[in-house]
């Protein structure tokens, strides 16, 4: 399968999911006009990744310093999607990076770490 690479713009993050290593990252800011369309490809890629080999490990890193409310919803859906795979015994790890001192972003990460089964580590950078 192919890696998923979307370059960063002023309104959308860099999305890079490497098919070989199983490392994925979402980096930057996010306030696209149609957040649901923008993020749909990530869920599809994750499904395909595990469909090809259910024994592989996926590491997903979120490193966003701003996103709008429509993106909030899409990130929630992606997290739940990752959580679903995790509860189906796939190996999934999530890291939520936030800038040191950015309490809003830290709280969002911590919210996920307590509400989901998939391990979410929250780290300041």
């Amino acid at each position: 399968m192919e890696s998923l690479i979307i370059n960063q713009t002023t309104q959308t993050p860099r999305i890079a999911f490497d098919a070989e290593s199983g490392n994925g990252e979402i980096v930057g800011v996010s306030f696209p006009e149609h957040a649901n369309d923008f993020y749909a490809c990530v869920n599809e890629w994750v499904d395909q990744f595990f469909a090809e080999d259910a024994t592989r490990t996926l590491h997903v890193a979120f490193n966003l310093n701003y996103f709008n409310t429509a993106t909030t919803k899409e990130i929630r859906l992606l997290m739940k999607h990752l959580d679903k795979h995790y509860t189906e015994e796939k190996s999934v790890h999530v890291t939520w990076f936030h800038e040191d001192g950015d309490e809003d972003m830290e709280d969002i990460g911590k919210g996920y770490s307590v509400s989901l089964n998939v391990p979410v580590s929250v780290e300041a950078v």
Partner: protein, 179 residues
């Protein structure tokens, strides 16, 4: 004469400590450009980001829900309104205004009044409820904008309505965040 008129605009902007004002159609491209302008002017530290988040939400609200619209250069129909960012020295004040149909103004007012009755934990619960459900009919986003603005300002948000004409009401939002 012309200088006098422009001086009036200048004086109003200066007195109100306006950092940026925009009136017109808010296409996504314009929202992005205004966002870049703010970042160029103010940087993008954690406090600016909080203000920026409110600014984008208000701009996208006007774009999606203003009853006064125009066709943008990319061919899409976008809402017209006004956005004003002011700096009081200790706070940023982010303001938006746009027309809404009188019938919708009533619904919107009820929604805003409801938000203002919620404390922090009730807001969080309401946000959670909304994020898990389908967007309300007619919503073009996630239907979360006003809730998140109320949360991000710690309740320092003021919704107001002014009569416009027989069909329309002018709806304004003023959100204040610490610098």
């Amino acid at each position: 004469m012309i200088a006098q008129e422009i001086l009036q605009h200048y004086s109003v902007a200066k007195t109100a400590q306006i950092l940026m004002m925009f009136k017109g159609g808010l296409s996504q491209n314009i929202v992005v450009d205004l966002g870049s302008l703010l970042q160029n002017r103010l940087g993008f530290d954690v406090k600016v980001r909080r203000m920026f988040g409110i600014f984008v939400e208000l701009a996208q609200n006007v774009k999606n829900y203003s009853a006064e619209t125009e066709i943008a250069s990319d061919g899409s129909e976008v809402g017209i309104g006004i956005l004003i960012l002011a700096d009081s020295g200790t706070h940023y004040s982010v303001n938006s205004g746009n027309l809404v149909r009188n019938a919708n103004a009533e619904i919107l007012k009820a929604q805003c009044d409801h938000l203002q009755t919620l404390d922090k934990s009730a807001l969080k619960a309401y946000h959670e409820e909304r994020i898990e459900s389908e967007p309300p009919p007619g919503s073009k986003g996630a239907g979360l904008g006003l809730i998140e603005i109320t949360m991000k300002t710690g309740g320092n948000v003021h919704f107001d309505f002014a009569p416009f004409d027989a069909d329309y009401t002018f709806f304004s939002i003023t959100a204040t965040v610490e610098k």
